[in-house]
Symmetry: C2
Subunit: 430 residues, 2 copies
């Protein structure tokens, strides 16, 4: 069977690029059966021509260090951006689109920060700018939101979007190890970068959440407006306490439609152990969403890695190779309106509190009195006799309360003389 060849120009040949090349070699005939065309990597942009490559991208691939050479090559049908960073890939994608080439990218940071400009350009050029690999690795959440669930209004979307953070929390939960050891283990296993800050501080999940908000709601939620709390320094005591009460702690990225205003953020939260998201362990990712027609849907899989992410890049390449009309944002507008943002202070959740206090009479009633004045009512309370941080821990599980009230109460409580350390508090997913 003779096949047309769709020619790919790759920018970057690291983990994901190598993964893509391996899949194209292993599954090339299979892809041709699906597509009626073969896919070939013909040119690769790299920083260093002399570096050895463990897996060559293809028999006829040439390497270049010139971005111009890649985007100007008339042979190349699709440009695949796998460079990382912001400025260089931004320039590359702009140039490629201006030259009339559709683009596939896995770059969540770039799209979160400068997506609107690039989507507007792609729209003017009537070209595809696809990004399945930018959220949750091989899980087809971008396609699902653009196509399969496009007729649904998404009431709530809750994601476990960072595999490193999830691995750390899973290990701490399973073994009782502390945060530093769990992070070290994640690094040993290759899940965490040498500089893990983006992962554990929640920014990586925030980038992905920005993209998902755009896809689910057709609104641009500026990254710098998104409240982001990571898991750095998560204490084993809180994980154990959560377990005792039947909860797991996960780093969540969530957006809720609250009467047309979006309540969104990245934060660690307690989840009941029989909740399906509580079962998402180790480096896995999952997105649970609730559509007003489809009801609850969850997609689960590996959020990172050469082959899973390569699989998502390949899905986009195949979609573009089919030359269907581009569907980049999932909406017909050239640019999406800025999100109607619910002030984070108005966010309502149940909360977990750990106070560290001197063990003396009247402490509990003072704290619960202050909380009561702020309309925070206590569902469960427990005092542990294990001295910690110069005091003993007192844990409260609250009923639903507004974040503003929680912050006001804590600022008052943390100023009391018998409080020995800043209060730890996490949300509880309901």
């Amino acid at each position: 069977m003779a096949h047309d060849m769709v020619k790919l120009g790759l920018a970057g040949y690291g983990t994901v690029g190598t993964g893509l090349a391996r899949i194209l070699e292993e599954n090339g005939d299979w892809i041709a059966r699906r597509l009626g065309k073969r896919l070939g990597i013909t040119k690769v942009l790299v920083r260093n021509l002399d570096k050895g490559r463990a897996f060559p991208p293809g028999p006829k691939t040439t390497f270049t260090t010139s971005m111009e050479e890649l985007v100007n090559d008339p042979e190349i049908d699709i440009v695949v951006e796998l460079m990382g960073g912001i400025e260089a890939p931004y320039q590359l994608i702009r140039s490629a689109l201006e030259k009339g080439k559709p683009v596939v990218t896995a770059n969540k940071a770039l799209l979160a920060e400068r997506g609107p400009e690039l989507f507007a350009l792609a729209n003017r050029q009537e070209l595809g700018l696809y990004y399945e690999a930018s959220v949750a690795g091989g899980i087809p959440i971008v396609e699902t939101l653009k196509q399969s669930l496009a007729g649904n209004k998404i009431k709530t979307l809750t994601g476990i979007l960072n595999g490193t953070a999830n691995f750390i929390l899973s290990e701490m939960t399973a073994t009782g190890m502390d945060f530093t050891d769990a992070l070290g283990l994640a690094q040993d296993k290759g899940y965490a970068e040498a500089d893990p800050e983006l992962d554990i501080e929640g920014m990586d999940a925030a980038h992905k959440l920005c993209l998902l908000i755009r896809l689910a709601h057709g609104q641009d939620y500026p990254l710098h407006d998104l409240p982001v709390q990571g898991i750095t320094g998560m204490h084993p005591f809180d994980i154990e306490m959560a377990r005792d009460f039947g909860y797991r702690i996960k780093l969540l990225a969530q957006v809720k439609d609250r009467s047309g205003h979006l309540q969104a953020g990245v934060f660690p939260a307690l989840i009941k152990e029989d909740h399906i998201l509580a079962k998402v362990d180790g480096p896995y990712n999952a997105i649970l969403l609730d559509g007003n027609a489809v009801g609850p849907i969850m997609l689960y899989g590996q959020g990172a890695g050469d082959l899973p992410t390569g699989s998502a890049v390949l899905a986009d390449i195949m979609a573009l190779a089919r030359k269907t009309a581009p569907n980049n944002t999932g909406f017909i507008e050239e640019s999406l309106p800025k999100a109607q943002i619910l002030a984070p202070e108005q966010t309502v959740f149940r909360h977990y509190f750990r106070f560290t206090v001197k063990d003396r009479p009247g402490v509990l009633s003072t704290i619960s009195g202050i909380m009561g004045e702020r309309n925070i009512s206590i569902a469960q309370a427990v005092q542990k006799q294990e001295p910690q941080g110069g005091g003993v821990p007192v844990v409260f599980f609250s009923h639903a309360a507004q974040l503003k009230d929680v912050r006001d109460a804590l600022s008052e409580i943390d100023g009391l003389s018998f409080v020995c350390a800043p209060t730890v508090h996490y949300r509880i997913l309901s």
Copy 2:
């Protein structure tokens, strides 16, 4: 904003048709923002014009009892088949395709039995014949296999595809109730049909599995070649026994690629309680698959119901309304080859056995001797002192064994004088 109208002709206006109409009313503006077009139900084929409809399909909808009138209406852009049955919808879909109209159907039985003819016709006509709603309700598994994971070879696909059976097993597990009571409860809750045979005997799951095999493997696995075992008469003792050993029993539909030959079937099986499929309870469906690039992926959601199924029908309608090139089977061939089927006897699984025997010396050693001769080795064994069926139950969990050996051993064992009732056996998912 002025919008084109895409006109839908519905055949059948039962649960799913009503669900679709409700979604179109509720989400009409939202859909127009996604699509640049409005969707309207303009004609509905019904059996009885005089029947009252709880929810009208649209302000300008006309009803007809004539299939010809529906497919000949030049105004109708897309025909949506929601009739049920085989012969009448087959004729309808044929006529619609012959008249040049793309078709959306939720009819798994029809596509399992006569899909190849209809897909060949759609291919000749270059028309879409879409069927997201035919498998697992609102879960976008059809689109995912056709598009997002199309570049993957699927090594194993395991589905919980029948919500009624899953609800029954979940109730039996949670409450210890017996099969008949759980079935009655499923009927009371509206999950089970008045005649639940298709659900509990496994045929409904088998229909869906045929469709998934086609999508994942590009091969036609004839329905009548598929080994199907349902859950009728499932005994609470076995569910409890499975629980004692850390397992749940689920009705599974599974296909595995074993060196190019497909091992497929529908069967109840024991699943370790910490396996993600073991958490799929009640009327929910899930599909877990393992692609050679993406690794394990699971999609989870409601497998039935008016709105979830309507959501899937709507996804297909929106895909067709975008007028993209049709992609029906996910492969470019006009017709798919017949599957390379692995003989069911060669299927290898771990097994659960419950023997009902007279409580006398030598029984265990005789049974395990016969199993040993057939290369079935025992991982765990337990004898309960609760008389049952004229004997006492003896439970074995085996290591992996070939189905042929299991059947040969059971036929010998069930002929022994001390065996009081036919041996119950289920597979164990590994």
